[in-house]
């Protein structure tokens, strides 16, 4: 079965090619189903490969399936091969699994779009590139996947937009990712130069021969690459803008898969991380922690339903970096998986809301959708509980693991990291509760001619499946004896570089309790602030049909509170809202002045230099001859100068 692993990226590629050939003729919805089938077939293959891999001894679970000689130049000899090991298959499983669900969802979501089949070509190509990224057996193949997912991401961001807004978003995404790619290229050359190979098995074998300084340099360069792709400080700015794309794209690319590739890369290179100086890991952890906090703060001040989730994604990805920096590869992977489930769920839920609301994304114009969109709201609530870290939903277990590792990572400043992580958890639960309340509870605030409706089955079925997964995915790696399934499974890919905690179960329980307490209190705080808009307590607006009806007991009780509640809201909004807003505006202006400024500045500088140099191009032969004469004289002087000294 392992030798059929090439089918995993093969099926989506075939799907893309088929749709390219006959997609327009197939039309809607057949071309969408074709793409979904291709993705599904890939998922089935991955499951079969997974089973095969499980039947092997743990030590043999590192299998390289060579496809063909790819390129040979002197000592630079690279095969195109697939590396089948627990890490890559775990990634492939949730990429194809979540990917297939999103394909199905998209059949409903993209209904009626003029470029229906084109969308699925891109989607299939994306899945192919992503699978190449995780399955490639060398850094170069991973880089091709890396660039491939980037290209698909630009194409899909700009799918609906051909105007200036897109150009700006696209430019930002392009430039920040270029910076990251620059780091990747340099790191790749450095690995080749120091190890003589860029294959992962050689890296595993040779990493211990690396000088700590070299390893540190490699790690920092790859970190630069990862911050670009995984939207971390300082390169995170492109992700919120990327929300211009269709929502399934945001779910698949900008939440579940592509943005995790930086984390995957660092995990894959764990032997090199193990050789690096400790401050390199510290840098990773701190980048992650600070990003998590900053992005969470920014999420509080968002009113666009997708922007909240976008910042939330940046923040959750920060957790993954925090975990890696603390030596917790398994918690990172664990949270990556649970996050893939619940964030995809939340995005798709948001998409369903947007779909039902006729492309309205402003949460202030929503409210009370719980009754009108029961499935969407029920599944969204599951996602909310998962991300907020309420036990026993999946997010609780995985986030708790990360905090536990951070707490114990004393070498890189563990306790401070833990506090930041906890604060982030608090804010996360707060803004997510705010989002749920603003969207699904309270009184409808949309205009009368909008008639929200539940989405079709193609869209709700993936939601239900993902909600189930988001609820129970914690089972993968429970912190109880004998239930560390994921940890045991991933062991062969980590080569003992994983930190093993010897924290007593008492302190574990204590930390978990604190986390739960924080999550629950944040939810309660948010309910205080925004819940007053909601449920039955909302005071009927004059002129509505509820007016004149006798007030319920709840309303009678809550009416006086309402006024004060707003006061509390002001306080909180000063604390969270305004602070968040301020921070957000700070970062927005940082984004404008520094990032955009850098982008524009660099291009201005470049064209300025160009314009200056251009003056030399006078059009007169005479001047050109003078250049040549000076050039030749300079060459001669240099050579003679060497002779005489």
């Amino acid at each position: 079965m392992l030798e059929l692993a090439w089918l995993i990226p093969g099926f989506p590629l075939l799907g893309a090619l088929l749709n390219l050939a006959v997609g327009r003729r197939l039309g809607e919805p057949s071309s969408g189903w074709l793409a979904a089938a291709a993705s599904g077939a890939s998922f089935v293959t991955t499951v079969l490969v997974f089973n095969e891999l499980r039947s092997l001894e743990a030590g043999e679970r590192f299998h390289i399936e060579k496809l063909f000689d790819w390129i040979t130049v002197g000592s630079f000899d690279v095969d195109a091969g697939l590396l089948i090991d627990p890490l890559s298959i775990t990634m492939a499983l949730f990429i194809t699994g979540v990917g297939s669900l999103i394909h199905v969802y998209s059949v409903g979501y993209m209904h009626g779009d003029a470029n229906f089949s084109k969308f699925f070509i891109y989607l299939n190509l994306f899945v192919t590139s992503m699978l190449l990224l995780v399955l490639g057996d060398n850094l170069l193949l991973t880089f091709l996947g890396w660039e491939g997912v980037g290209a698909c991401s630009y194409l899909l961001i700009s799918f609906w937009f051909t105007d200036k807004a897109n150009a700006t978003a696209g430019k930002k995404a392009f430039v920040t990712n270029r910076v990251g790619d620059f780091g990747y290229m340099l790191a790749l050359f450095l690995v080749f130069e120091s190890l003589g190979s860029i294959k992962y098995d050689d890296i595993v074998a040779g990493a211990s021969t690396l000088a700590p300084v070299t390893a540190t340099a490699i790690v920092l360069l790859f970190l630069l690459a990862a911050t670009g792709k995984s939207a971390q400080l300082p390169l995170f700015v492109w992700l919120p803008d990327a929300m211009a794309g269709p929502t399934p794209v945001s779910a698949l690319i900008h939440a579940a898969t592509m943005v995790t590739s930086g984390v995957f890369l660092l995990t894959r290179l764990n032997p090199i991380l193990a050789e690096a100086q400790v401050w390199a890991l510290g840098t990773i952890a701190w980048v992650g922690a600070i990003t998590a906090l900053v992005a969470a703060t920014a999420a509080v001040a968002q009113n666009d339903i997708k922007k909240v989730l976008a910042y939330s994604t940046v923040s959750q990805l920060g957790y993954l970096f925090l975990a890696i920096g603390s030596g917790g590869y398994v918690p990172a992977l664990f949270h990556m998986i649970t996050h893939a489930f619940f964030k995809a769920l939340l995005f798709l839920g948001a998409g369903s809301v947007i779909h039902g609301m006729h492309h309205e994304q402003d949460m202030r114009k929503m409210g009370g959708l719980r009754k009108l969109m029961p499935i969407t709201s029920a599944t969204f609530i599951v996602g909310w509980l998962a991300i907020a870290g309420v036990p026993p939903f999946s997010g609780f277990w995985s986030k708790d693991e990360i905090l536990l590792y951070a707490y114990n990572a004393d070498a890189v400043g563990g306790k401070a990291l833990w506090v930041i992580g906890l604060a982030t958890a608090l804010i996360t639960a707060f803004y997510m509760t705010r989002q749920v309340l603003m969207t699904f509870f309270g009184k409808p605030r949309f205009s009368e001619d909008v008639h929200p409706h539940e989405s079709p089955k193609t869209m709700t079925t993936p939601l239900i499946v993902l909600a189930g997964l988001a609820a129970v995915a914690g089972l993968l790696n429970l912190p109880f004896k004998g239930m560390h399934y994921l940890q045991e499974w991933l062991e062969p890919s980590l080569f003992g570089n994983e930190v093993h905690l010897d924290a007593s179960s008492n302190s574990k329980i204590l930390l978990a309790l604190i986390a739960t307490l924080v999550a629950v209190s944040a939810i309660l705080m948010a309910r205080k602030v925004y819940g007053t808009l909601g449920t039955g307590s909302f005071v009927p607006a004059s002129g509505s049909e509820d007016e004149g009806k006798p007030m319920t007991v709840a309303q009678k009780i809550e009416k006086p509170i309402l006024a004060r509640a707003w006061g509390i809201d002001e306080a909180y909004s000063r604390l969270f809202g305004q602070l968040g807003e301020k921070l957000f505006h700070k970062f927005a202006s940082f984004d404008r002045s520094v990032i955009d400024g850098a982008v524009n500045g660099v291009s201005k500088l470049a064209s300025g230099v160009g314009t200056t140099l251009r003056v030399t191009q006078t059009g007169y032969v005479r001047n050109y001859l003078q250049f040549m004469a000076f050039g030749v004289i300079a060459l001669g002087v240099w050579l003679l100068w060497r002779l005489f000294i």
């Binding site: 191009q617 059009g619 007169y620 032969v621 005479r622 001859l625 004469a629």
Partner: protein
């Protein structure tokens, strides 16, 4: 006679040629200056050939004479064409292409 006398002579000739190319505005005079450069090469080659007692330098000189003839032929043709279109062979007027 010393080798360096020839080399100096060739160098002077070469410099005059380059100077001519750099300063003349008349296309035909530029062509003539190029001839000077090539002839400086020839003198060098023949001087070295004689000094080294080796024939290939002289052979090379013959080749350069032939090449120079072909080059001047093409050069004059281009100058003529320009004259036909613009009624002028001032090379400083040839700057429509720039930037």
């Amino acid at each position: 006679m010393f080798l360096n006398q020839f080399l100096l002579f060739a160098a002077v000739l070469f410099s005059i040629g380059v100077y001519g190319v750099l300063t003349r505005r008349n296309g035909v005079l530029v062509l003539m200056s190029i001839e000077l450069i090539l002839n400086a090469v020839n003198i060098n080659l023949i001087a070295f050939a004689a000094y080294n007692q080796d024939l290939s330098g002289q052979v090379f000189a013959l080749f350069i004479i032939a090449v120079a003839a072909a080059e001047v032929g093409v050069g004059l043709a281009i100058v003529l064409l320009i004259y036909r279109n613009r009624r002028s062979i001032d090379i400083t007027e040839q700057n429509a292409l720039r930037g």
